[in-house]
């Protein structure tokens, strides 16, 4: 099964890859070898215990080096945040689409360019690609690195604080059918910088394709990144995405993973608190139905003392869907005074929906405050009765309660535009009434 992908790598490496500098191709080659050695993970691999990648590995997805697609701005405008087309950099079927992007709206102090350009245009930056994420045990990451044809590179220099979110939209259209895409992104925040990045994966139409994405993030001393990952891939699509972050002292990383798309998805969000006084907030919401399978794995690694981490993941599962949450918190022996809290709450709406939840704490320091917990439940009958006893229609009340369960985690989102947009998406999903009024009205 790995063979097909390796054949494609060989074709790529002797063709389109050659436009990139030799050092890039060296990294690609090493990664291809790594992928060959690892092979696709099986459920015997503890990290993939609840998710079988068979549906991905057995299908014949093909890498297309050339740019494809004819998506127009109107086709995906609704997936943007903030009511306007916003400040965005757009990729269609995995390749940068300059004519659809509005780079000129992005704060000029921030450097934003495509990875394909960055290899030669910003090598000092691009050379960090592959230095943050580890592919030692990660076949999909290795496979991404073997290709990494394009993606976004964002560099926020020292002391630059960017108010408006920078939106990165990965759009697929009908031309993505049977294709595999390898978006590779790099976000670098220098000392005391502050920015918000919204990384969205959306589909126009109903093609079956495979996105294998990797995003590397470096946050320097005292810098803050709010990072939203919005996975709204097509319902026949497959998505495997890894975000790996390294945080220097006094930095803050705020991550939110929103997942409603794809037939099968796996999202990895890893952060390493590598200096004192860091904070990491990892929140997420997944809402599934039908036969969807959605797996989140998070890893928070406390390396240095006096850091905190907060994690809240919520899931709403209907139909025969299957959710997986595996949250790991490692506290190294030096990471004294770590303050960690991890929670996963799942609401099951049907008897056939299923969740496997595994919050894990591994603590090697002796002076820490860490808690974790998971709940799995059905709708709160008492609250439902309360609402009905006020005259609310039973079905409307039920839907509103589901919405409220989900909205609880959305309420924590700091960026108003993102919060309101996700509230709306969630409301539309569950509260199928004529009047769609946000909770705050």
């Amino acid at each position: 099964m790995t063979r097909r992908y390796l054949d494609q790598y060989r074709e790529f490496s002797t063709g389109a890859a050659k436009t990139a500098p030799a050092w890039v191709n060296d990294r690609r080659r090493a990664a291809a070898a790594r992928f060959e050695a690892l092979g696709f993970p099986t459920t015997r691999n503890e990290d993939w215990h609840f998710t079988t990648v068979g549906p991905i590995a057995e299908r014949e997805f093909t890498f297309v080096a050339a740019r494809t697609g004819d998506a127009r701005r109107d086709d995906f405008d609704a997936y943007g945040f903030g009511g306007s087309t916003g400040e965005s950099i757009v990729f269609v079927n995995g390749r940068f689409a300059p004519e659809l992007s509005t780079l000129d709206r992005i704060d000029p102090r921030v450097r934003v360019l495509s990875l394909a350009e960055a290899w030669t245009g910003a090598p000092e930056l691009a050379k960090r690609v592959g230095t943050i994420v580890s592919d030692e045990q990660a076949a999909f990451t290795a496979l991404n690195t073997a290709f990494m044809p394009d993606g976004v590179v964002i560099h926020v220099p020292k002391d630059v604080q960017v108010a408006a979110p920078i939106q990165v939209l990965f759009v697929t259209d009908a031309h993505a059918a049977k294709a595999v895409m390898y978006p590779r992104n790099l976000i670098v925040l220098d000392r005391h910088a502050k920015a918000t990045v919204i990384e969205s994966y959306v589909a126009i139409g109903d093609a079956a394709y495979f996105t294998n994405a990797v995003t590397e993030v470096s946050i320097a001393d005292g810098a803050t990144l709010e990072h939203y990952k919005i996975q709204r891939e097509g319902r026949r699509a497959f998505h495997v995405g890894t975000t790996e972050t390294v945080q220097a002292r006094d930095s803050h990383y705020v991550s939110f993973s929103f997942a409603t798309g794809a037939s099968l998805s796996r999202t990895n969000i890893y952060t390493k608190l590598d200096g004192e006084g860091c904070g990491a907030t990892l929140n997420g919401l997944y809402m599934l139905d039908g036969e969807q399978h959605c797996d989140h794995q998070t890893r928070i690694e406390h390396v240095a003392p006096n850091c905190f981490s907060r994690e809240l993941y919520k899931g709403v599962l209907d139909g025969r869907s299957h959710g997986v949450f595996n949250g790991k918190v490692y506290v190294h022996s030096a990471a004294q005074k770590t303050d960690g809290k991890q929670t996963n709450n799942t609401l099951l709406l049907s008897k056939d929906a299923q969740i496997d939840t595994k919050p894990q704490l591994e603590i090697f320091a002796d002076d820490v405050k860490c808690t974790h917990g998971a709940t799995v439940g059905r709708l709160d009958e008492t609250a439902w009765f309360y609402m009905k006893s006020r005259g609310m229609n039973a079905e409307a009340a039920r839907r509103l309660l589901i919405y409220a369960f989900a909205a609880d985690v959305i309420e924590n989102i700091e960026q108003a535009a993102v919060r309101e947009a996700l509230e709306r998406v969630t409301l539309e999903r569950f509260v199928k009434v004529e009047e769609l009024i946000p909770v705050s009205s």
Binding site: S389, L400, F405
Partner: protein, 265 residues
Amino acid sequence: MLDIRDLKATAGEKEILKGISLSVGKGEVHAIMGPNGSGKSTLAQVLAGNPAFEVTGGSVSYEGSDLLAMEPEERAQAGIFLAFQYPIEIPGVSNAYFLRSAYNEIRKARGEEEVDPMEFVGIVEERLKLVDMSSDMLQRSVNMGFSGGEKKRNEILQLAVLEPKLAILDETDSGLDIDALRTVADGVNKMRDEHRSFIVVTHYQRLLNYIVPDHVHVLSNGRIVKSGGKELALELEEKGYDWLVEQPSGGGRRSARPAMTGREG
């Protein structure tokens, strides 16, 4: 308007209501008193249609309809309102949205036009004054982070907005200090008129100083053991419940002091 005949209900295996009969006429205020565990709250919950209780016998007719055959929301739409003893917190649903949805559902059921958010603001503003609540409370999630007193006032606000024909107050006074109690009672009194009936469930006579009932019923062990006028409440305040209550041990023991606390000077 409400006719309860030999009503029996269980929670799980346990029979709690063991044959209650009670008639409430238009505009009347009935107080239901009784010691803990007598079935007062169960009666209130059963009338509102809480599925946690199973009706095992008897009948309830409300304005000529079989109340027990109606869903909770149908009862509310027909004009029944239950003020909860422990109001429920609903994170993520704003008070304003919740109230307006309920208000519009009830209007729809009456064949009236729904109101838009702007019109609704006007309707609520007026009622807020009734219970001395600030409009900030409307923007918060239903009962989230509310104090005990705020929760109870929020219940009365809902009562004032939804304008039921029959309001059931389930221990609305419990946990309130005297100022909050007065505010809540004032709100209720302003809602009293010749068309609206009340069933006031309370453990203490104190509330009835403010909401003066037409009839008082004492519940014990799932049955009404005594009914009377408002003076019965005063008598209970003096003597406690023990003289009316079936003693499980054969009625030998008498409490030296009234079983009730919270006396009003």
